[in-house]
Symmetry: C2
Subunit: 178 residues, 2 copies
């Protein structure tokens, strides 16, 4: 027992601060962030081990996906088929590193919508072009399934690095901090 | 009264087919599609009349948005500020035409996640580059708010037209139909 807790116990004063801390750690918001992070980590592990069966286990049956070039696949069969084909063609061994889960917003019914930022290594497209190392922002709409979250929708956007300096919100933030 | 219905009425057989049709029209799935279409139509109207106040009225307070070049804005203030700035810089008078709501999937709690395909007219970026006429796929995560749906998340991806012929699902579909 720490000294502060011992004093509280002796005085009979409820350890409000300690309880508040514990309550925050286990708050619904923190719990949701933890569950989103779990899905994202499993996605990263599936991607980097080229394990499409593990990746498909993260999808709902009616998952929809829009990839970086705007292909739209509807339903688990299509999303799984497309990912297997693209991994065979170009993504096998191409590392994808999670940089940050930038946002987690709760949805009614226990789901969440989150944006994760990834760094993707260079790869060669089916048409033979080299795609240089890049970053993407992946939007994930997640729904509860037992104590897990599953991916109901994914949309993955390549970050055009040169355009970021024109971001009005970033410019406003820089003006405020300067 | 059509002949078939008259026969059914005379024989006392319930017009199952007609009822099934009526039931389908008012089904929860069709109702959700209709409500999603309403938001998308309001979004189109707001875009094409450069009415950022009408656009912001479609957002939840904690809306997040990732735009076509991967800028990520968090919360209604940022999403609204960014859209006003980008309309002032480049989108005013640039028409955006809804081609199709390609998918509507229900979410727990009465929401939906949908993908809408848009045709966007040519515009000039802040750095002076001409963006030619293009199409995008916009993913919208929508949550109920009274009898309306509001946008909790948007992610808008430019369709790279040249890459679509490499879509594994499209190729499989073409093989099946040939």
């Amino acid at each position: 027992m720490q000294r502060r807790e011992a004093v509280l116990a002796l005085t009979g004063i409820a350890p409000v601060v300690a309880l508040a801390g514990a309550s925050k750690a286990a708050s619904p918001k923190n719990d949701l962030a933890r569950r989103v992070r779990r899905v994202v980590d499993l996605y990263a592990a599936a991607w980097n081990s080229n394990d499409m069966t593990a990746m498909a286990a993260l999808y709902t049956p009616d998952v929809h996906w829009v990839n970086v070039v705007g292909m739209h696949w509807q339903g688990r069969d299509e999303v799984d088929y497309a990912h297997r084909a693209l991994f065979d063609q170009m993504f096998r061994g191409v590392n994808s590193t999670l940089e940050e889960v930038e946002s987690v917003a709760p949805l009614p019914g226990g789901g969440a919508v989150a944006v994760a930022r990834w760094a993707v290594a260079t790869y060669r497209t089916p048409s033979g072009q080299i795609s240089p190392a890049s970053r993407t922002r992946m939007s994930l709409t997640l729904v509860p399934h037992g104590d897990r979250l599953l991916i109901a929708h994914g949309a993955n956007i390549t970050i055009v690095e040169g355009a970021q300096r024109s971001d009005p919100v970033r410019q406003r933030r820089e003006r405020k901090s300067s």
